[in-house]
Structures are given as C-alpha cells and as structure tokens.
Assembly symmetry: C2
C-alpha cells in the first residue's frame, strides 16, 4: 500500500460502532476474535483488495465503541455511501458502519486524531440489572455523584498521567495528556462518567474510574489526587475498573485544517 | 405440594427480570435451556426443597421480562428479603430477582393475575444499532408514529382476538380479551409499543405488532382493523413480529382484595 500512486487510490474514513461483548478488542490477535479481523474480512468481500486499515486506537477486550474510526487507502471505485450499506450487509449484528467519506491522502485515523471521548457506565443499584451485565459495571453501594464529580474535576488539565497507566512496552514515552472535561451524569440508577482528552494512555480511563470509586469509598481522599498524579507511580492510584462499562464515545479530527494544509 | 398443611408452609410471590437472549422462554423444555429451569435450580440450592413454581405466563424463546412473577409454597424458613439476595448470588447475570413477599395461601402467580403489560421495541433507523440486535426489532423505513398510534387505538376494548393468536392446543377456548391501552412512544430512533390487557392469547402481542407494521407499510388500512377482528381468522392479520423486541413489562395483581377474602 505504501507504493500506491497518490493519483490513483482514495483515502477513506469509515466510522463504526460495536458491541464489544464478543470480541477481544479492536486489534487483530492470535487465538481470539477481534473487531478488526471481522471488519477486515467484510472489507475484503466488498473491495476484493487487501487494504491496510488504520484504527483510531486499540481497545481492550469487551470494551464497546459508540464511535470508532478507521481509515484506509483503496483503488476500489465503490461510492463511499454504497460502502456503508455493503459493509452493514456483511457485518454481524454487533458491528455497524455509520458513515464513510473520502479524506485527504495524508489523513490517518490514528495519527490525525486530535482527541477522544470515553464514557464509563455504572449501574448503581442494590439489585443487578440483567440487561446491563455486559454494558455497565454493577456497583452495589450508593455512590455520591457530587463527590465523584468534584474528584473527577481534579484530573482536568495537562498532567503526566504515569500513575494512571498500565505499563506497556509498546507505549510511547510521553506520558503527558490533557484532559478537557470529566463529567458525572446520573439518570435513574445509571451513572455515566464522561471524559475527553487529547489522548489516553493504556488503561487510563479504567484506572481513572477505579480511582474515583476508591474516592467514593473513602479509601482515597479527593484532595490527594494532585499528589497521586505527582507521584508518577501506578501503585498510588486505584484499581483498573472492569472493561464492560467502557465505551469509546467520540473521536475528534480537525478535518478542515487537514484539507487546507 | 398439594398435600402441604395450610398451617405449616408459606406462599411466596417473587418478582424477577431477565434478558431472554440466551433462553428458550420461561417454561422448562426438553433440549433447551429455560429461565424456569435456571430459577428452579437456584431455588433448590437455597431451600433444599423441591417446590412447585407457578409462573405468571409462558414467554417465547428470546423474549425478555422487565417484570416476571412466580409464586410457590415452601416449608423453608428463610426471610423473604434474604431470599432476594441468596437467589441473586446464585443466578446468572442475565436473571435478577427484585423482590420476594409472603402472599395469601390461595394466591397463584398465574391464576391470580388480573392483567399484564408488554412493551415491543423497534429500532427505527437506516443503520442497525449494534447494541440492540437482541433487544429490539430493526426496522429500516421511517415509521409514521401517528399512524401507528391511531391503528393501535382501534384494538382497545373487549374483542374476540382469534385473528391475532397462533393456534395452540394448550390454549383455553375463550378467545375474548380486553385491551386497556395501547401506546406508541418514540425516543430518538427507538419506538416503543406499550400494550396492557386483562390477558393475552398465544403470540398475540407479536401479531398485533406485525399487523401495525403492515398498516405502516400501507398494506393493511387502519380502517380495516375492526373487520380483521370480526373475521376471527389468523390469516387476515399481519405476520408474527420477531421475539427479540418483546418484553413482559408489568404483571398486575389485586393483592389487597386477595388478602381480604
């Protein structure tokens, strides 16, 4: 694909959503079914061409996506709007393509991404919700959403988030990220933690949520958060919250600027 | 159980909810896993006693319950409130017990039931919803909810609903039912059809919904509904809508009266 003539192919941005319950995350893996593998097979059926798919991020096993973005270059002539229907016809019911558009040649779903938003859902009720076991964390004890919200606010800003990342050999060395917003919304018994940033480290949202739950339990004081950030040591933060409550919600691109440059 | 002394045991009413995706309905069946079987096993673990469980209704494979009611007589001494926790600890994540109360000896979850409410969910959008494939019917073409609502209204009242029932040898011969209300609610792309009645014939809600969709398609005129009822013949109604959109939502009992008699 690297040698593809700039004047021949097109670069396409495809947005999709998926229920991650059956999958071991986005990225192709040995001995486990990934969303990428299923998507790639459907794409091959439509284009009859092996394309190099760039996904906007890795996602962990059982994590969901309300929006996921991929880009790839193709010599195929299918209209972008027809691609949506052709892929949806082939994809299983738990993966849906919502849009496909042509983008500038240098656009890359991963490297052109300017930010992301995640949602973490918590079913906060004494009784489990039988419809939510794959879609939210079940948390028995009543959570104080005001306290959660105050603690979440103290993460906002530009920080080195080493304390809130799982060590990963593949991870880049720059651990500084900027959290733009971190909201706590309660609808009946469902609490949603919504966090947006210019980027996230490996497991960062799940560790932020695990830390907020420790604050709710009184095991970490909300005033201690700045010093936990300062420590740059994973062991001072809370545990990694389980994956099934996590949704990649939005993926941000500055496509206008990308077109103008 | 029939011979159980009235002065010894207790009669309990347990309410539960379940995600029916993995189950072949409520009723115990050969060669298929039912909710009743799973519930019965959990109950045996708690009571160490084989009880005769009365379920409020049969439900078809893949149909869900926001509320389902069972009653049974037991010699066990466990407190009703403890039973809720003991059962939830044993039941899988897709079945949840919400309450347990002692009821009069002659109460029966099926025969004491004075009415039920069902919800049928339709995801009405060109693009499938990957989170709803087990929880709603996907309907591509835009539905006119005003038309659906007007057509639904013409089912309200006391009628012989033979045209809207699948023949079933087990079914009682009285095909007259009273529909109290039939509402159509749209929230974003999700349409909910909510119907309550004193009782429902086999497959009745799914055939009512299938008929409403035929009205939306212009294949049955809404003015024709009274004559379809009149025909007392299944072949004039619409098809049976698929099970995954259907939820038993509420089960009505007149427990005060039951206690006073």
């Amino acid at each position: 694909m690297q040698s593809m003539d700039k004047n021949i192919g097109r670069n396409l941005l495809v947005k999709l959503s998926y229920d991650g319950s059956r999958y071991h995350g986005w990225q192709v893996q040995n001995n486990a079914v990934s969303v990428q593998e299923i998507f790639q097979n459907a794409l091959w059926e439509v284009l009859k061409e092996t394309v190099n798919i760039k996904g906007c991020s890795r996602t962990d096993a059982f994590v969901h996506a309300n929006t996921y973005a991929v880009s790839f270059k193709t010599n195929g002539s299918i209209k972008a709007s027809n691609l949506v229907y052709a892929l949806n016809r082939l994809l299983p019911n738990d993966i849906a393509v919502s849009s496909a558009v042509e983008v500038p040649w240098d656009f890359d779903a991963r490297y052109s991404c300017t930010g992301k938003e995640y949602v973490y859902k918590i079913w906060n009720h004494r009784i489990k919700n039988p419809f939510m076991h794959n879609y939210a964390l079940h948390y028995w004890y009543k959570l104080d959403t005001d306290l959660l919200s105050e603690a979440a606010n103290s993460f906002i800003g530009t920080h080195d988030f080493t304390s809130f990342a799982t060590l990963d050999k593949r991870e880049q060395k720059n651990m500084v990220r900027t959290i733009y917003s971190f909201e706590v919304i309660k609808k009946d018994s469902m609490i949603e933690l919504i966090v947006s940033a210019d980027g996230f480290l490996y497991n960062m949202v799940r560790i932020l949520v695990g830390t907020l739950l420790r604050v709710a339990q009184g095991k970490i004081k909300k005033e201690a958060i700045p010093s936990i950030i300062e420590m740059k040591d994973r062991k001072y933060a809370g545990p990694t919250a389980p994956p099934q409550g996590l949704y990649l919600n939005k993926v941000f691109y500055n496509l206008e600027r990308s077109i103008n440059t």
